[in-house]
Subunit: 572 residues, 3 copies
C-alpha cells in the first residue's frame, strides 16, 4: 500500500527538481529495491568523479580565476550529478598571489558556507559546467557513509589539486559532524516551532535549491499519524459509546480510519527509517533540535493510538506485552529528556519550554490509558504519576511565560492546542484506572475544557500563519478533548453534554478534514509539503560578520562592494 503512495508522490517532486537542474531526490529509489548497498555505488562513482576534478583543475589554471566547485552528491546509484564551476575573474592589484591552489584564501573560507552560487550572480564572465558524472557533494556532511569514504579513496589517489576542496570539505564536515548546541538553535532559528532561519544566519545547505527528499522529510511527519489515528479512536468511541448511540454511527469510519492510519504509520516509519540509515546526521540534528525532539515521542504515541483504536472486528483484547514494548522507548526517551530538563545545562526546562513539550508528557497519559484498558494496574499508575509530576512542572512553566522563553509567539499558534492534550488524555486515563469518571477525573477534564475554550475564543489570531506539517500534531488534542467529552457524557448524560460531544467531535473531524485538504493541496498542487528543513541546516557556530554580510549581499550587491567589504573585514 505504501508503495502506491510512493509512486504517486515521488515523481511530482522529481519533475520539479529536474527543472532546477538539480538531482536532489536521489536515494528514495532504494524504495524500489534496486541498489540496496549504497557503498558499492559510491565507490563505483569514483572513476568519473576523479576525472571531472582533474578537468576542473585545468580550467582553473588557464583562467587564473577563483574557482568555486559545488559538487552535488548522492548516496545512490541512479543520479544525474553535476558540477558547478563558478569562475570569478578579478584583478589582483595589491596582492601577489601565485598560489594556483587557492589564490583567494578568504574566498575559500567564505566558500564553505556558500556552496550555493553566490558569486554566480556577482559577475558576468562565469561559466557553469554541468557534468553528468560528477555528484553533488553539498549534502555529503549529512550522509551516513558516502562522503567520508569517497574522500578517503580520493586521497589515496593523491590528487594535489583537490586539496583546497578537501580542506574546505573537511572543515565543513567539522562544522556539521557535531550537532549544534541548543543555544545555536535558539540563536539561529525563530518562530514558535523554531523552523525559520533568522535574517542574520546562513544555512549549511543551499537555501535556494530543493534538497534531497529524505533531508526534507521531518520527524514532524509522524504528526499525521497522530491526527489520523486519534480520529480512528474518536469514531470508535462514537460507535461504541452508549451515550452517543442516538447518533447511530456505523463501525465503518473507525475501520477505514484505522487502516488508513496503519498505512500512514508504516509509510512514514519506513521513509524515516531510510532517513536514519542514509542521513543519520540529519536525524541527529533533529534530535538535538529543542522543539523537534518532542516529535520523537510521536511514533510511539501513534502506535498506542492504534492499539486504542483497534476496531472491535479485528481484536477486542490486546495482549499486555504490546504495552510493555511500546512503553519502553517512551520510558527511555523520558529518562533522557526529563533528565535534561532537571539536570540543567543548555537544555534546562526554563530554556527549552515550549508547548511542543506536551508531546513528551502526553505519552505517559496515553500509556496509562492503554495499560488500564488492557487491565494492567501498577504500570499505568506509574506512568500517570510520572506524567502528572512533569505535567505540573510544564504547565506552570508554560503558563508563566518565563522571560527566557522568548521564542514563543505572542499570537495564538496551533501549537498552543497541545495544551489541551495532556489533561484530556489524563482524565480518561484516570477514569479508566479508577474505573469511574469521578471528581479526580473531572478536574483534568474541566481544565482541558477551559483551555480549549480559552484557545477557541482566540482562534481568529490564526490568520497569517503559514501551513506546516506540524499542524497535524496539533489536531489530536482536539480529538482527545472530543473523546474525553464523550466519556464524560457517559458519566453525566444530558442534552448539554451530548450537544457538547457532537459539537467537539464535529469540530475535530472538520479540522482534520480541512488539514487533509491543505496537505493534499500542498503535496500535489503547490508541491511544497516538504520544504527545505532549515532547522537542521544551521551552522554550528555563529557565522562571522563577513559571512552574514555576504549572505545579505547575495541578492543585490555587485562584486566591487563585495570585495571591498571582505577586504575591510579582513583588515579588522
Amino acid at each position: 500500500m505504501e508503495q502506491t503512495e510512493l509512486q504517486v508522490e515521488i515523481p511530482s517532486v522529481l519533475k520539479q527538481t529536474s527543472c532546477q537542474n538539480i538531482k536532489g531526490f536521489d536515494c528514495v529509489d532504494y524504495g524500489n529495491g534496486n541498489n540496496p548497498n549504497p557503498l558499492e555505488n559510491a565507490i563505483s562513482d569514483k572513476e568519473s568523479y576523479g576525472e571531472s576534478i582533474a578537468g576542473s583543475k585545468i580550467t582553473k589554471l588557464e583562467l587564473q580565476e577563483v574557482v568555486i566547485i559545488s559538487l552535488p552528491a548522492s548516496p545512490s546509484g541512479l543520479h544525474i550529478g553535476q558540477t558547478k564551476l563558478v569562475l570569478h575573474s578579478e584583478k589582483c592589484e595589491n596582492t601577489d598571489q601565485n598560489d594556483t591552489k587557492n589564490p583567494y584564501p578568504q574566498l575559500a573560507k567564505q566558500k564553505k558556507f556558500h556552496s550555493q552560487p553566490i558569486l554566480v550572480r556577482e559577475n558576468g564572465d562565469r561559466k557553469v559546467v554541468h557534468s553528468e558524472a560528477i555528484r553533488d557533494h553539498r549534502f555529503d556532511p549529512f550522509k551516513t557513509w558516502s562522503g567520508r569514504l569517497e574522500r578517503q579513496i580520493s586521497n589515496l589517489r593523491g590528487k594535489a589539486t583537490q586539496e583546497p576542496d578537501i580542506e574546505a570539505g573537511a572543515s565543513e564536515r567539522d562544522e556539521i559532524e557535531e550537532a549544534p548546541g541548543v543555544d545555536r538553535y535558539f540563536d539561529a532559528l525563530e518562530g514558535p516551532e523554531l523552523d525559520t532561519l533568522r535574517a542574520t544566519e546562513v544555512s549549511v545547505l543551499p537555501e535556494d535549491e530543493k534538497w534531497p527528499f529524505l533531508l526534507r522529510f521531518p520527524v514532524n511527519a509522524f504528526g499525521i499519524c497522530l491526527g489520523v489515528s486519534s480520529q480512528a479512536i474518536l469514531w470508535k468511541t462514537l460507535n461504541t459509546s452508549p451515550a452517543m448511540s442516538f447518533l447511530h454511527i456505523s463501525p465503518m469510519p473507525n475501520l477505514i480510519l484505522w487502516w488508513a492510519a496503519l498505512a500512514l504509520i508504516l509509510f512514514v516509519s519506513f521513509v524515516y527509517l531510510l532517513k536514519i540509515v542514509f542521513y543519520f546526521e540529519a536525524v541527529k540534528r533533529e534530535y538535538h533540535h529543542p522543539v523537534r525532539v518532542n516529535f520523537f515521542f510521536a511514533p510511539w504515541i501513534a502506535c498506542m493510538f492504534m492499539a486504542l483504536a483497534v476496531p472491535p472486528s479485528i481484536a477486542v483484547n490486546l495482549r499486555p506485552f504490546i504495552w510493555y514494548i511500546l512503553m519502553t522507548p517512551i520510558f527511555i526517551l523520558e529518562l533522557k529528556i526529563y533528565g535534561q530538563w532537571m539536570s540543567g545545562g543548555q537544555r534546562r526546562l526554563s530554556k527549552v519550554a515550549n508547548p511542543s513539550n506536551h508531546l513528551s508528557i502526553v505519552g505517559n497519559f496515553v500509556g496509562a490509558l492503554l495499560g488500564a484498558n488492557m487491565g494492567l494496574k501498577e504500570g499505568p499508575i506509574f506512568f500517570f504519576a510520572v506524567g502528572l509530576a512533569h505535567y505540573i512542572v510544564l504547565f506552570v512553566t508554560l503558563y508563566q511565560r518565563l522571560p527566557t522563553n522568548a521564542a514563543l509567539p505572542k499570537e495564538l499558534h496551533p501549537v498552543f492546542f497541545l495544551f489541551v492534550a495532556a489533561p484530556s488524555v489524563a482524565c480518561m486515563a484516570w477514569a479508566k484506572i479508577q474505573g469511574d469518571f469521578d471528581y479526580a477525573a473531572r478536574i483534568p477534564y474541566f481544565i482541558a475544557l477551559f483551555l480549549y475554550m480559552s484557545l477557541a475564543v482566540r482562534v481568529n489570531f490564526f490568520t497569517g500563519i503559514r501551513f506546516s506539517l506540524a499542524w497535524w500534531a496539533y489536531t489530536f488534542p482536539m480529538t482527545g478533548a472530543s473523546i474525553a467529552t464523550i466519556k464524560y457524557t457517559m458519566a453525566v448524560t444530558n442534552v448539554v453534554t451530548r450537544s457538547l460531544s457532537v459539537c467537539l467531535s464535529a469540530i475535530s473531524t472538520f479540522t482534520v478534514s480541512t488539514l487533509l485538504v491543505y496537505t493534499i493541496v500542498h503535496a500535489f498542487v503547490l508541491r511544497d509539503l516538504f520544504p527545505n528543513d532549515i532547522s537542521i541546516a544551521i551552522t554550528r557556530k555563529k557565522p562571522k560578520f563577513s559571512k552574514m554580510l555576504s549572505h545579505f549581499r547575495s541578492s543585490s550587491a555587485d562584486s566591487k562592494d563585495f570585495d571591498s567589504s571582505i577586504s575591510k573585514n579582513s583588515e579588522i
Copy 2:
C-alpha cells in the same frame, strides 16, 4: 438609601475643592437627576465659552506674552467653570518671533503636559483671570463625550486663536486615547499596588489639585463590599453553625451586615457606573492597569458573597439562575485574563504576577462554593478545576518571586493576605462539593492556615505603610479563613478548633472594624479617602528629558534656568 450617603459624602469634598478654586466635583450632580443628557449641556455652554476665548486672545495680543490657558471643564450643567490665564512676560533676545498665535513653540509643546500652573510660580507678573463661563479642559481626555464634541463645535465656528490650544489638546488626546502598554505601568509606577508615580515620571493630569470625584473613585472601592459582605457570611456562619452554638450569636449581625453590604454594593456600583458613563477613558486605564484589573472581579465576587450571606429570614434557597448570571462575567473575565497570562505578550504571568492576581482566582472557588450550596454539581466542579489549575500556577509563580516581579515589596504588605483567600475558600468549596470536610478539603484548609500564621508572625512589618482603600480587599481572606475554620470545627469539634474559630473570627472582625474607623477618619476627618488616582494618569510614552526636568523644576527653579534648560534640550 444611597441618596442619603451621597448627600453626606459629596458636600465635604465640595467644600475642600472650593478652597482650591477648582470645581472638580462636577458631574455627580447627575445623581440628582437634573440634567440627564450631558450632551445638551455641553452644547448650550458653547456660547459663553467661545466669548471667553475671544477675550483671552485680546489679552494675549496686548501683552505679547506667553499665555497658557487652563480651562476647567465639566460634562454637567451646574458648573462653576473657570479659566486661568497665566501670563508670562519674557524678553525674546535671540529669537525673532512675530507669530502671535504661538510665539514660543517649545513652550507650547511643553504646555500640553503641564496644564498645571507650572509657570505661575516662576515669575511674579502673572494674572489669573477667573471666568465663570469657561470650563476646565484638563480632564477632557478622560471624558467620554464632552471634550471631543465641544472642540468640534468650536472648530466649526472657526476661531483662529484657539488653534494652538486645539493642537495641544489633540496631541494630549492622542496621548491618552490609547491606554498605555503594560510596560508603561511598570515603568511609571511603583509600590506593591503600582499606585505611586516614580520620581522620573509626570502625570497627565494635574498632580497638585484634586481631580473630579469620579476620576478619583477607583475600582478598588469594591473591596469595601468584599470586606463587609464576607463579614456578613462570617456572622451567618457563627449563628447557624452547630459547633459554634455555644457562643449564642444572634442572627441580627448577619442581617444588619447584609443590608449594609447591599447598600454599599448598590452605592459603589452606581458611582462606578457613572464613572463608566462619564470617564470611560479612566475606566479603560484602570482595566489596563496590571494590578487594578484584578479588582474587576470584585463586584461579582461581592455579589456571590451576598448570595452566600443571605440571611435565612430573607431566603433559604436561592435559585440556580442567579449563579449562572453571576458566573458569566467571571468566566468571560477569566477567559480574557488567563488567556493574557498564557498567550504571552506584555501581560504574561511572569510579568504581571502580583498577590492581587488571587482576586482573579478566588472567584472560581467562591463560584464553586455558591454553586454547590445551590445544589449544582458539574458547574461548581468546573470552576473548582479551573481555579485549581490556575491557583497552582499563580501560587508557584508568586512563591518563586521571579526576578521579573521586581515591583513586589520586600516587606510584608496587606496585599499578601490575599494568599490566604484562595485555599480557604477552596476547602469550603470542596467540602460542599464532596459533602464532607474530607482530607482533600483539609489540605487546602491547612495550607491556608499555615499561610495565615506565616503572615501573622510578620505582622509588625506593617508599620509605615500608608492606608489605602485597597486594604478592604485584603480583609476578606481573613474572614474567609475564619469561616473555613468554623467549617473545619464542625468536622473536628474540640476545644482547640473552637478556640481557633473564636480567635480568628475575633481578629477578622477587629480588623474590619479598625479599617472601618480608618476609612471614616480618612473620609470625613482627613478628607483624603479618595486621593488623586495617579495610576490612571501616567503618560503613554516615557516623558522626554525636558519634560522630566521641567517637572522637577516646577517647585524651585527660576525662569532663567528653565529657559536655558529648554534651549539646551532643543539643541540636543
Copy 3:
C-alpha cells in the same frame, strides 16, 4: 559514650595542628570540665598578654619598620598562644612619615584582611617572634565572648601602642559582626553546596592553616545522623514487614544501628552545642548561608527518624508529646524560611532554590509519618498539607532551573538525590494517614521511583567530585526510597516488587557502608574530614581590587610590585 569518641578524635587533630605551630583547637577542652567559665580565663590571661604587646612595641620602635601583628587567640585557659611579628623593612622615598605608631597607613588598612602572614613571604629580613603567652586573635571575631572583653580590659589599661591594632580589630569585627547578605554568599562562593571560595575572593580567616576544630565542624555533620538513623528504619522495616519475611532479617541490625545513631546524634549535638556556645558568630553565618541553612532541619529530622526506628524491644508505642516537641522547632524554622522565600528580598526562592531545600520540605512529611504512626490525625495532615504546597513550589522551581539558579552544577551531584526524599516519605506518610497504600500514595511513590531511576542512569557523572561530609545527607533519600518500596511491596506483593525492595535496600546499605569507609579514611587516615569551612569565612563586602590583588600576590609577588599596586589603587 561520646566521651570515648571525643578522646579518639581530638588528639589526632591536636597532633596535626601542633605541627603547624598554631594552637587552634583550644576550647574543646571544656569537654573535660576543667574550666567551665571561659570569662575567668580570658581575664586571667590579660597580665601576660599586656606584657607581650609592650614587648612588641619595643621591637617596632627599634627597627622603624612596618610591624604586622597577628595575635592568635583562644577563649580557653589551656592554650599555647603565639604572636607573629612580621617585620617589613622598606625605604620610604617619597613619603615623610615619622609617625611611629603607623608609618604606612595604607598597609595598616590592608592588614586587617590579611592577618595571615602575607608579607612574610615578600621580603627576606623578617623576624617572627613566637611567644607562648600571646594568644591567636585571628579567630576572635567568631568567638562569642573572649575577644570583646579582652579588648575592653586592654583599653582600660590605656596602651597607646595597641591602638592601630585595636582599630584594625574593630573594623575586622565590624566586618564580621553582621553576617554577610545572601548575595555575598552567592558572589563569594561556588559549587553546588556553595562551599568553595571563588578565585577573586579572600577569606576572613587564614586559608592556609587549620582552624580551631569547632570552627571547622559544620552543621552538615547532622547528615551522618540522618544516614545512620534512616538505615535503622530500613532494617526495622526489613525485619518487621511481612512481605520481606522471606529474607529472615534479625532484629539485631536495627538495634545496633539505632544505638549507633543515638550515640552519633548525641555526640554531634554536643559538639555543635559547643560551637553555638563558643563560636556563635560562626553558627550565625552557617544559618545565613543559603544552602547550609537547610541543614538546620537535619537534627530534628534525625530525631524523628530515631523515633520511627525505635526497636520494638525498646518501645512499641511512643507518646504523642514527643511529636509535639519535635515538630515545634521544625514549624518555627519553616515559618522563618518559607516566609523568606515568599516575602521576597534577598532570600526569595528564585534566588536560593537548591536541591538542599528539600531538607526543609521533607521534615513535614517525616513529621506527618511519625504523627500518623503515633495515631494522631489532624497534626499529620497539617504538616502533609504544608509540605505538599511547598513541595510543589520547590519541585517546579528546581525542575525549571531558572536562570537565576546559576550556582547549580551542570553535572549530576549527590545533592540531586534529595529529589527522591520528599516523594518517598510523602507516600509513606499518606499511606499511614489514609491507612492504606492507595492510589494517592502510589502517585508520590512512583514519582520518587522515576526520579531515582532518572538519577541512577546518570550516576557515572559522579566521577571527579570530591568527598564531602554533606554526602551523608544525600544517602537518606535512597534509604527512604527503599523503605517506601517495602511498604509498596506490602500492598502489591509479587516477585518484581520483592526484587525491587531487595535491590534498593542493598544499594542503600552499600552506599551507606561505602560512605562510612570514606568517612573513616578521611577522618583517621587523610585527617581531612573537617577541612576549613570556607563558607563561613567570606568577607561581608566584596574585597576591593587592591585586596584581591594582594591576595593573588601572596604567593609569588615581590614587595615592590605590591607597593606600587597599592599606591596606584589609592590614586584611583
